[in-house]
């Protein structure tokens, strides 16, 4: 016998003497961030070294904190295995969608007007989506519990997902209609200097430097992303349908499944925090006072691009879906 006999363990000792056996999701997620609020510092180096200070200031020191984050659960309860399984299936669906529309040479049916609208509105979206990907990763690496980290990291992956499908379709449209849209410059030039894109770029660049973990989370997932997603998943879907681009419309609907998952874990997290400390509503709302209008300003400036399409979506309509999305998530999160 190599080990002294002990009572058979039901679960990890750190999960306590639980009556209910934790789920597999919990067993591979709970208490992985042993470094959160570790004494004297998160990392086993000089307690004052730069990255210890960074985490102490921006994570432990964030006003968005509760006594215990370990009780939070992502409503989707995704492990890595679940995530890749889910998205494997969803990507099979999109593969099928692409096949279907490539088989009928859908891109060749684009009118010149819609091609131009696609080029000016859809093609440069790769840049802001990439920023959303970066920002989700920041939330993930700073979050105080793995239940939050993993949800944020999967969200970042979802951003890459839609970015790549847009890149793919950009190439398809380029092959069918206009080779010049499948270049770096066709996206970067408007992103860097197109008038319609500048408020969005300003919002996203400044959001990147909101380093407090709570503010980074609120700015992204309650302020900016809901407005941006409403623009790209709802308004763009409608615009595509009006212009007989069913492929883009279906793609937008598909991406909104990912966005809905983001909204679900976001509202659950805010609700969890407010239950533990109702005073945090003021903290969240304080940040939203900055970031909700920035999200709207970003979307509003994109109005002319929606209006230039052969069958337009009005600027006011665009702003309204973005506002509605922000109101909805704030309401669901309990901070409206």
């Amino acid at each position: 016998m190599t080990t002294m006999r002990r009572r058979k363990a039901r679960t990890w000792s750190l999960l306590g003497d639980v009556k209910r056996k934790p789920s597999a999701y919990e067993a591979v997620t709970a208490k992985f961030h042993y470094h959160f609020r570790r004494d004297p510092a998160p990392w086993e180096l000089d307690p004052e070294m730069a990255l210890n200070r960074w985490y102490l200031d921006h994570r432990e020191g964030s006003p968005f904190n509760v006594d215990d984050w370990e009780g939070y659960r992502d409503p989707a309860k995704l492990t890595y295995k679940d995530y890749v399984t889910l998205q494997h299936e969803r990507e099979l669906y999109v593969d099928g969608l692409v096949d279907r529309f490539e088989a009928v040479d859908h891109a060749a049916s684009y009118s010149d007007g819609w091609t131009a609208a696609f080029a000016s509105l859809v093609v440069p979206l790769r840049f802001p989506i990439h920023v959303l990907q970066m920002a989700s990763l920041y939330v993930g690496q700073m979050a105080p519990s793995s239940f939050i980290t993993n949800a944020a990291h999967f969200q970042a992956a979802d951003e890459m997902r839609r970015l790549q499908r847009i890149a793919y379709w950009t190439q398809v449209v380029a092959n069918a209609k206009d080779a010049s849209i499948a270049t770096t410059e066709a996206a970067r030039e408007p992103w860097e200097s197109g008038e319609a894109w500048q408020p969005l770029r300003e919002t996203l660049e400044t959001m990147l430097v909101a380093y407090d973990w709570g503010e980074a989370f609120v700015a992204l997932n309650l302020g900016v992303k809901p407005a941006f997603d409403a623009m790209t998943n709802v308004a763009l879907r409608d615009l595509a349908r009006r212009n007989e681009d069913e492929f883009i419309a279906l793609l937008c609907e598909e991406f909104d499944r990912d966005a809905a998952r983001s909204r679900a874990w976001t509202t659950a997290l805010v609700r969890y925090a407010l239950e533990r400390d109702p005073a945090l509503a003021d903290v969240v709302n304080g940040w939203l006072e900055t970031w909700a209008p920035k999200g709207i300003a970003a979307v509003e400036a994109m109005g002319p691009l929606f209006e230039q399409a052969p069958e337009p979506v009005a600027g006011e309509e665009l702003v309204e879906v973005a506002r509605e999305a922000q109101r909805e998530i704030a309401g669901a999160a309990g901070v409206a």
């Binding site: 190599t2 990890w12 307690p47 890149a167 950009t170």
Partner: protein, 506 residues
């Protein structure tokens, strides 16, 4: 299948670099999170080009298949008696592995995520996103497997809790991994985690251990780590393009220093983890190579090639310190770990039965004279029933860099060190002890990173550990009496070829 090939559109999804206007580069990529080592503006990083390309759709399709197959091996094996039938030494090797590796792999995801946010080119940030997902996988899969073994082996609890404790090996692991990725900036992480550690050492741990696992019949562990290795070899490729950019911009010295720093540190922890597993814990009949042979084949050769390919030099300590340590360092650690076995969460397998000693002498000529003599004494004590003499009453010195006990006297005895004394260094009035010149050198590279840290021994002497006794320290380390390591075979090795008390030798 979509009609276009990946290469037709892939550049559009990675050429996403732009010039910031509303914030500065320093604000968006602060040095603490992303040290550019003087390579500015960011545009100089935009040519970063990953050698291995994968799209999101390919990633989820592939990874789904990989996970499905590894988890199905696990569920078949969970219903079998495979685990019970494994050799006790091998079980120790995997209990040690899970404790030291599972949660750190998950944390490597934070380092990847940092590169995914603060990497200085979009292509790099994309690759790091896959790395983030990969490491989430590795953390979860390597806790799930031991989780399913909890009822068979309670020590598997350490797969989850080791890093929560102050067990000395856990401190050494944290100190290394925090230095390497959790508390490292994006640029240094690419070179130290991916270029130095993953392309080199995880290859050794995962390929070597996978081969051994298959040999001993641990299909579960074998399937697990070979599947992990396929991810590692992909995301490890973030190092190469980062080194290239440093070299092209005239900062080969920076890359060299980062590699030299982390190579040494990785070597010490791997000697502790893999060295013991390969040369002592793996059953003799299943050892395909010695640890030294593995090191020579996988690490020495690979790094020398890598150095040459990138215009770097072998580390300054290569000939003088590193190669000589291959002959003695892990043997000394093994002796120490076995002697201080109550301080570890696994059951050290002495691995010095007569046949094993013969193998050790053959693989490491001189082993008997340097190390065998200690095992002779331990064996004598055990055969006389004096187990207490084989257990510790004091603590060894611990290195203020690698956090591993100082074993210099053994190196001196082996004729590989000029003195049995450790390296002593005074910095701002405090005395630091190092196990080796290179550990001291790493400290001196960047004292602000390390100076305020205290080792187990510093804490013991500083009165942080109460009561200041062996039992007090064991409790502080989080080891309950049932969890403290014991000899893996209940001293069977000491009686092989001798007449055991109360039983005739066979």
């Amino acid at each position: 299948m979509p009609a276009l090939r990946r290469s037709d559109w892939y550049d559009l999804a990675r050429d996403l670099n732009w010039n910031l206007s509303y914030v500065t580069e320093d604000e968006a990529f602060p040095e603490v999170m992303s040290n550019n080592y003087g390579i500015t503006p960011n545009e100089k990083w935009w040519g970063w080009d990953e050698p291995y390309k994968v799209s999101y759709r390919e990633y989820v399709h592939n990874q789904h298949g990989k996970d499905a197959s590894v988890y199905s091996v696990n569920s078949v094996i969970a219903r079998s008696r495979m685990f019970e039938e494994l050799d006790p030494g091998w079980k120790s090797a995997i209990v040690a592995h899970y404790g030291a590796i599972a949660v750190p792999e998950y944390l490597a995801g934070l380092g990847e995520s940092r590169m995914g946010r603060f990497g200085r080119a979009a292509a790099w940030r994309n690759m790091a996103l896959f790395g983030t997902l990969d490491e989430t996988r590795h953390g979860q899969i390597q806790t799930y497997f031991p989780y399913t073994l909890l009822d068979k082996e309670p020590r598997m609890d350490w797969a989850h809790k080791a890093l929560h404790t102050n067990e000395w090996g856990a401190i050494a692991a944290r100190h290394l991994f925090d230095d390497m990725f959790t508390a490292n900036d994006a640029v240094s992480t690419a070179i130290q985690l991916t270029f130095t550690f993953e392309t080199g050492f995880t290859n050794l741990q995962f390929l070597g251990m996978a081969a051994d696992a298959m040999e001993v019949g641990d299909l579960d562990f074998g399937a697990l780590i070979s599947s992990i290795q396929t991810d590692e070899s992909r995301h490890a490729q973030q190092g190469e393009p980062t080194v290239k950019i440093l070299v092209e911009n005239g900062y080969a010295d920076v890359a060299q220093r980062l590699v030299d720093h982390m190579f040494w540190r990785s070597w010490h922890v791997f000697a502790l983890l893999t060295g013991l597993s390969m040369d002592y814990y793996t059953p003799l009949e299943h050892r395909s190579h010695s640890f030294k042979e593995f090191m020579q084949e996988w690490i020495v050769k690979q790094f020398l090639d890598q150095f040459r390919d990138f215009g770097l030099e072998p580390s300054w300590y290569w000939e003088s310190h590193f190669l000589p340590e291959l002959d003695w360092y892990h043997h000394a650690l093994h002796l120490g770990v076995w002697f201080w076995r109550p301080t570890v969460w696994w059951n050290p397998d002495a691995g010095v039965s007569p046949a094993e000693r013969e193998w050790l002498e053959e693989k490491y000529p001189g082993w008997n004279d340097t190390f065998g003599v200690y095992w002779d004494t331990i064996g004598d004590n055990l055969r006389r029933g004096e187990e207490t003499k084989t257990l510790p009453e004091t603590f060894p010195m611990v290195c203020n860099m690698c956090q591993i006990p100082v074993v210099t006297p053994a190196g001196f005895r082996a004729g590989k060190l000029e003195s049995p004394e450790p390296q002593i260094h005074i910095h701002e009035g405090r005395q630091y002890v190092f196990c080796s010149e290179p550990c001291k050198w790493v400290f001196q590279l960047n004292p602000a990173r390390f100076a305020g840290h205290t080792s187990v021994v510093d804490r013991f002497l500083g009165g942080e550990i109460q009561p200041p006794t062996i039992p007090g320290a064991l409790e502080w380390m989080g080891l309950s009496p049932e969890e403290m390591g014991q000899d893996a075979t209940n001293y069977a090795w000491a009686f092989e070829g001798f007449e055991a008390p109360g039983a005739a030798a066979s």
